[in-house]
Amino acid sequence: MTQTRKPSDPKHRTREPKTPSSSSSSSFSTSGMKLIVPLQGVVQGRGGLFLGTLIPCALFYFLQLYLKRRRSGFNNPPSPSSTSSPTLPRTSSRSNLSTRGSISRVRVSKLATLVAKPDDSLYYLGLEKVSQDPYDASENPNGIIQLGLSDNKLCLDLIGKWVSRNLEGSLMGSSDDVTLSINGIAPYQPHDGLGELKMALSDFMQQVMGESVKFDPSNMILTSGATPAIEILSFCLADHGNAFLVPTPYYPGFVRDVRWRPGVDLIPVHCRSTDNFNLNITALEQAYSQARKRGVKVRGILISNPSNPVGNILTPDVLFSLLDFAEEKNIHIIADEVFAGSTYGSDKFVSIAEILDSEYVDKSRVHIVYGLSKDLSLAGFRVGVIYSFNHTVLAAAKKLSRFSSISAPTQRLVASMLSDKRFIQEYLETNRYRIQQVHDKFVDCLSKLGIKCAKSSAGMFCWADMSGLIRPYSEKGELELWEKFMSVSKINITPGSACHCIEPGWFRICFTSISFEDIPLVIERIRRVVESCKSSS
């Protein structure tokens, strides 16, 4: 049984600043009418009923059009429109959040006011709470255990060893340099990344994606992480006020990457547990037509494959259907493949690049985002990739990469690491093995507590169904359960509402930030909450 979410809380709706045009046009209509009626009377006296109605209305229309044109292009998030607006924070009865941030003494931009506000997404709130009271086995055993961030700590030992063995050679000079000198890393470098790193990354991506597809370094733009990669693509592919379709549940960070500065809307395409949250093309069609009816221009589809937060892999069939859909509507596809190397299940990961090879399709509409934060556990190093077949996009993204360039010493270090193919092979295999171990054990323990997880084949998390534990079966119930986990058992997990999931009760639990040995501790803490929910029902 599924239940759609309640419309966003009206209290929240008013907190969003209204668009200037919508608010003033509504007030204008009332004042406009005050103008029209007497005017009609005057004109009707002279020009008869027909002209008496037509002329004032025409004047009114043109005046409104003129005023609308004068307004600036940069709007706030468009006015909320029923349940399909993903932009509004979905939490309802939130515990008090400081509203001080929204009152500024001197005016900063509307964007700054919006961004500076304390985050009310439970995803970010949870991360903040952990940072205030982080668990540490020896220093702070009663702290909050972080299960809300998909960091991979399982294979850091391997990378650490490689670095300590190989660092000196890799930091300053490339393999061609006879002498190590700072000349290699200090001066200005191409904004879109060093050639040697692009080459190393293209080989790495090929390795990660099973050697079945080759990547061309000249189709790459490097950025400081996948976060700016998505923002840059949004700036390139859509104008302010346009939209991307995105299957739910989705990674909470997309809202920041796509909406904040590019001003592109995210229109959810709801996926259901009955399909194991797999994308349904019919739902995609529906979302697209509804958007069109509302006059919203859809410029692309944003997918994550392997999916975050569910962890399932899109099959080649679905990818083909997506391409057909994009072709038919003449829109783009942005495929975020950052978890491509973190697979463990029986399903094989197939990159959308591989599909393109095998089918005659306009490649210039497909753009892939990749990065080393997940597969190589190097989130701190900030290495991301935009991979595109579209030369105009590449040219524009190259110019935009100046705002998000990767630090040169890091580029050299990473290029050197990736070129050690033997190490990389060993790393990828070990990583997959360890993720699988932890995943299987974790999911098994959860199921013994009565918590089932969606079938997943990749990623660093499981998508757990706790709908049986929430009362009422709604977003409110889900929020209360989240708070219980946070305060009673002190673990941070991500509620489905933060990922815009349409069914309440699902939670994303990341298991790669803890070790295999820590699993019993975590399960014990979860058990406490489960018991307390069962006993209170």
Binding site: S72, C236, D239
Partner: protein, 479 residues
């Protein structure tokens, strides 16, 4: 072909198409002492390569910093996953201390009010997003860094209205010019959100006077909703008097710094929350490849918003750690700052005297990595076309890539920015020799430069036209 966004397909990112010819020619024919002695010498890149040896020796003596170790123990795990947009506390502390040291410790900075970004390019753009709406404007004194047309305007939709400065008073900002710029913006129906200045100035190489800074602070006080951004990325390149005066120092002198975090204690007629400083390690420390920039502001909303936006340009944890160790070494920073100053001064002197020998003067400068050179007397006419012609001659005939004043929006033709810190002394000497020879030829052969213009210009422009049609629009760095 799917439609792309207007931003991706338009050309409104301020790229002056003729400007890049110089860069392209350099790329095709770069000077090399051994392999290509007749190639083009790069004098259009404001890079500080004078103190690499100091950096290298520090790295050699401190292998732990580059080796992800602290006190001999590996902290790799910690660094590998560190992606907190608040930045590494040790690094922020080290940067604010370094900034204070550069300012003679006359002002101090609070590490909680600094936001780290991937270079000052990112810092400037982020500040625009935080302070202005699309279609608003910022006033900038001319001449200014050509990159601002792209960094401040492109994705943000903000407009730049120039404050016209000229050589009559050494390009200083005057009240009249400021007022004129403001009125110009009003005429264009643009809401002015503030003023952005580069101090020390790029391309002038001069520090702003107290008078100018006070004038600017007065101006934003008068207009209560305006901000003042001071891009101080060259603050550590000041090599002679008058010394560097930061806008923060001026605020302190006027008793207009933030007094406390208690609302009531602060000056009612506050201005401290509308003044923001941009910094970077690309010029002072000569590390543009490391991509380290910063925004400093006492305005909590700006800091909060900019911090979150820094997600789009975080500095790698490896770099943060390495530099926190380097800048935390106070003995090193003291040595570096003094030595850097000395070497820059010497280099600038070399350039100035070399230019003098060629009969070319320049604006008297006390900072920066370049000089603002006066070649008005070599123009065939007092026009920007003549400036372009002269520039092309200097690139192709003389073999020097320098930056024409028109690309910096200078109001007077004939000024050029010439960099001196990105090459060896021998190369600089060679450049001066070439220039002298050119000037002699120019002024010696048949009288004034004006006459020489004619014939050479026609064939030159034809050649240039052919080249520009082959251009593939490559992007270059102009700082």
């Amino acid at each position: 072909m799917k439609l792309l966004s207007t931003k991706a397909t338009c050309n409104s990112h301020g790229q002056d198409s003729s400007y890049f010819l110089g860069w392209e020619e350099y790329e095709k024919n770069p000077y090399d002492e051994v392999h290509n002695p007749k190639g083009i010498i790069q004098m259009g890149l404001a890079e500080n390569q004078l103190c690499f040896d100091l950096l290298e020796s520090w790295l050699e003596k401190n292998p732990d910093a580059a080796g992800f170790k602290r006190d001999g123990k590996s902290i790799f795990r910690e660094l590998a996953l560190f992606q907190d947009y608040h930045g590494m506390p040790a690094f922020k502390k080290a940067i604010v201390d370094f900034m204070a040291e550069i300012r003679g410790n006359k002002v101090t900075f609070d590490p909680n009010h600094i936001v780290l970004t991937a270079g000052s390019t990112s810092a400037n753009e982020t500040l625009m997003f935080c302070l202005a709406e699309q279609g608003d404007a910022f006033l900038l004194p001319t001449p200014y860094y050509p990159g601002f047309d792209r960094d401040l305007k492109w994705r943000t939709g903000v407009e730049i209205v120039p404050i016209q400065c000229n050589s009559s008073n050494n390009f200083q900002v005057t009240e009249a010019a400021l007022q004129q710029a403001y009125e110009e913006a009003q005429k264009r129906n643009l809401k002015v959100k503030g003023v952005l200045v580069t101090n020390p100035s790029n391309p002038l190489g001069t520090t702003m006077s107290r008078g100018e800074l006070n004038l600017l602070v007065d101006f934003i006080k008068e207009h209560g909703d305006m901000h003042l951004i001071s891009d101080e990325i060259y603050s550590g390149t000041v090599f002679s008097s008058p010394g560097f005066v930061s806008v923060m120092e001026v605020l302190k002198e006027r008793n207009e710094l933030k007094v406390s975090s208690n609302e009531d204690d602060n000056n009612a007629d506050r201005v401290w929350d509308r003044v923001h400083v941009v910094y970077s390690l690309s010029k002072d420390l000569g590390l543009p490849g490391f991509r380290v920039g910063a925004i400093y502001s006492e305005n909590d909303d700006v800091v909060s918003a900019a911090t979150k936006m820094s997600s789009f340009g975080l500095v790698s944890s490896q770099t943060q750690y390495l530099l926190s160790a380097m800048l935390g070494d106070k003995k090193f920073t003291k040595l570096y700052i003094t030595e850097n100053e000395k070497r820059l001064k010497r280099r600038q002197r070399m350039l100035v005297s070399g230019l003098q020998k060629a009969g070319i003067g320049c604006l008297e400068s006390n900072a920066g990595l370049f000089c603002w050179v006066d070649m008005r007397h070599l123009l065939s006419s007092n026009t920007f076309e003549a400036e372009m012609d002269l520039w092309k001659k200097i690139v192709y005939q003389v073999g020097l890539n320098i930056s024409p004043g028109s690309s910096c929006h200078c109001t007077e033709p004939g000024w050029f920015r010439v960099c001196f810190a990105n090459m060896s002394e021998q190369t600089l000497n060679l450049a001066m020799k070439r220039l002298t020879a050119f000037v002699v030829e120019c002024t010696g052969n048949g009288g004034s430069a004006k006459r020489n213009g004619g014939l050479k210009m026609k064939s030159l422009t034809k050649w240039v036209f052919r080249l520009s049609s082959r251009r593939d629009g490559r992007e270059q760095e102009e700082r």
